[in-house]
């Protein structure tokens, strides 16, 4: 029943790669161990913390929950692929400018999720940033600076008013926290 290895072809950060992978290895394993791309972090391994977020065909995924074998033919972007030609992206620059990184461990995942959000919604509201990054935990609790960085990058570096746009009717999650239901 065991297969020694499988050949896959993937494009990682714009570069075609052929890799021999073990069937039970995840995309996260292969990025870190086989391709040496250690910017993508290993943390919870249950798809909750988002430290391993990468883009697969332009969509963000938790690399710990994807088998490398599934990726045959896919286009993958890791945090190492965000800077072009040695220049930090505007988003990365905004993270530096707002001191969004504290211990820094979650930042690669935060950056990739934020980039995915901005690619889809170039000028997100505060609520959209919160939802877009809900799958990325920061154990330092530095969410304010992270949200600020994303909003600043969306505004091309100009200061952003903090007032959120009205939330869309569909998918309104304002009713979710317990505090909304009954007086505590």
């Amino acid at each position: 029943m065991s297969q020694p290895s499988l050949p896959i072809r993937v494009e990682v950060n714009g570069r075609g790669r052929s890799v021999e992978i073990a069937p039970h290895h995840t995309l996260l394993d292969v990025l870190r161990a086989d391709l040496g791309l250690t910017g993508t972090k290993e943390c919870c391994l249950v798809g909750e913390c988002g430290a391993c977020t990468v883009l697969v065909d332009d969509r963000s995924v938790d690399a710990c929950l994807v088998l490398a074998a599934e990726m045959d033919g896919a286009r993958i972007t890791t945090v190492e692929g965000l800077a072009a030609g040695g220049e930090l992206s505007p988003l990365q620059r905004a993270f530096l400018d707002t001191s969004a990184a504290q211990c820094g461990f979650c930042i690669p995942g935060q950056l990739v999720s934020a980039q995915a959000l901005l690619d889809r919604v170039p000028h997100p509201s505060r609520a959209e940033v919160e939802d877009g990054l809900a799958g990325n935990y920061c154990r330092c609790g530095g969410y304010e600076q992270i949200f600020e960085a994303v909003l600043a990058a969306a505004a091309d570096g100009r200061p952003v008013p903090q007032a959120a746009l009205p939330r869309a009717d569909i998918g309104d999650r304002s009713s979710t926290p317990d505090a909304d239901v009954a007086p505590q």
Partner: protein
């Protein structure tokens, strides 16, 4: 991670043959957001993982076929939440899909995987029940269509048979406007499993359908033919009396760490009232 073999069939018959050949040691892989976790923590074991994402019959896509909307088995939550027909005609399903996990999970988790995992707290189940969805499965003996109310048995258990695969989920298109919504309670905002889920569908004419989950071994669906819940102007106390009767199957586990039974039952009523208001408002907007 435990070791297993990986197969990626491109024909439905090959996928079914692999499942039949390996029986309990074969696991179908669609999005993997539940499966990979359980393979890693060894709550399930697999000799072979059968990746069904390249089987054409299960392909991603949402299409209209006559009086049904057909959602391909591999369609992920992001695509369901963004689909215009689902947002306008099956709003509760779009809302349910939109609160599954995080963006990363929704980009990967499939509708078929969600119903096969059969968590009582699954966010797509109440809407599928409220809209009388039909699960289409293919197996060694051909194709079966299973009404979603006959699908769920208990957590992790459905009426799918060995060797069968879900190929699609169908939603009957109503010929009258329907106002609907999915609501839930979680411990924290953002990424969490629900402590209570509830969906309601209010058609312009006809009975109101209401479904609720995370308060027992499976999500339940009930219908109110009395006209009380269909009345957009019924007072809250009248609605509550009807809701209490409809919630009679709710039996939350006393050992769950997410919420106490008392809390879940109290919130079920709150969510029911809220959902009815939203659904009636949407129905009025759709009919305007």
């Amino acid at each position: 991670m435990q070791r297993f073999a990986y197969e990626r069939p491109t024909e439905l018959r090959d996928a079914i043959a692999l499942l039949a050949e390996h029986g309990e040691m074969a696991r179908a892989l669609s999005g993997g957001t539940d499966l990979i976790i359980r393979l890693r923590d060894r709550t399930i074991s697999a000799g072979v993982v059968v990746d069904v994402k390249r089987v054409p019959e299960l392909a991603t896509g949402i299409r209209r076929e006559g009086d049904r909307l057909v959602i391909g088995a591999n369609t992920v939550m992001t695509d369901i939440a963004e689909d215009e027909t689902i947002r306008s005609r099956f709003t509760a399903l779009a809302e349910g899909a939109l609160v599954v996990g995080s963006v990363q999970i929704r980009n990967r988790a499939s509708l078929a995987g969600n119903i096969c995992n059969a968590s009582p707290a699954a966010d797509t189940s109440p809407a599928l029940l409220a809209f009388s969805a039909v699960v289409v499965v293919a197996g060694p003996d051909g194709t079966r269509r299973i009404p979603i109310d006959d699908w769920f048995v208990r957590s992790g258990v459905t009426t799918i048979r060995p060797g069968e695969l879900v190929t699609a989920v169908e939603l009957p298109m109503a010929d009258v406007p329907v106002g609907s919504t999915h609501v839930r309670r979680t411990r924290r905002r953002g990424h969490d499993l629900a402590s209570v889920t509830l969906a309601v569908a209010v058609p312009r004419d006809g009975p109101v359908t209401l479904s609720y989950g995370s308060v027992g071994p499976r999500p339940w669906v009930v219908t109110d033919s009395s006209g009380t819940l269909a009345d957009a102007n019924a007072p809250a106390e009248v609605r509550v009396a009807t809701l209490e009767r409809l919630f009679s199957s709710a039996a939350p586990s006393p050992t769950s760490m997410r919420a106490s039974p008392e809390y879940r039952l109290a919130m079920l009523r709150v969510l029911g009232l809220r959902a009815l208001e939203t659904a009636h408002r949407r129905l009025a907007e759709a009919a305007a």
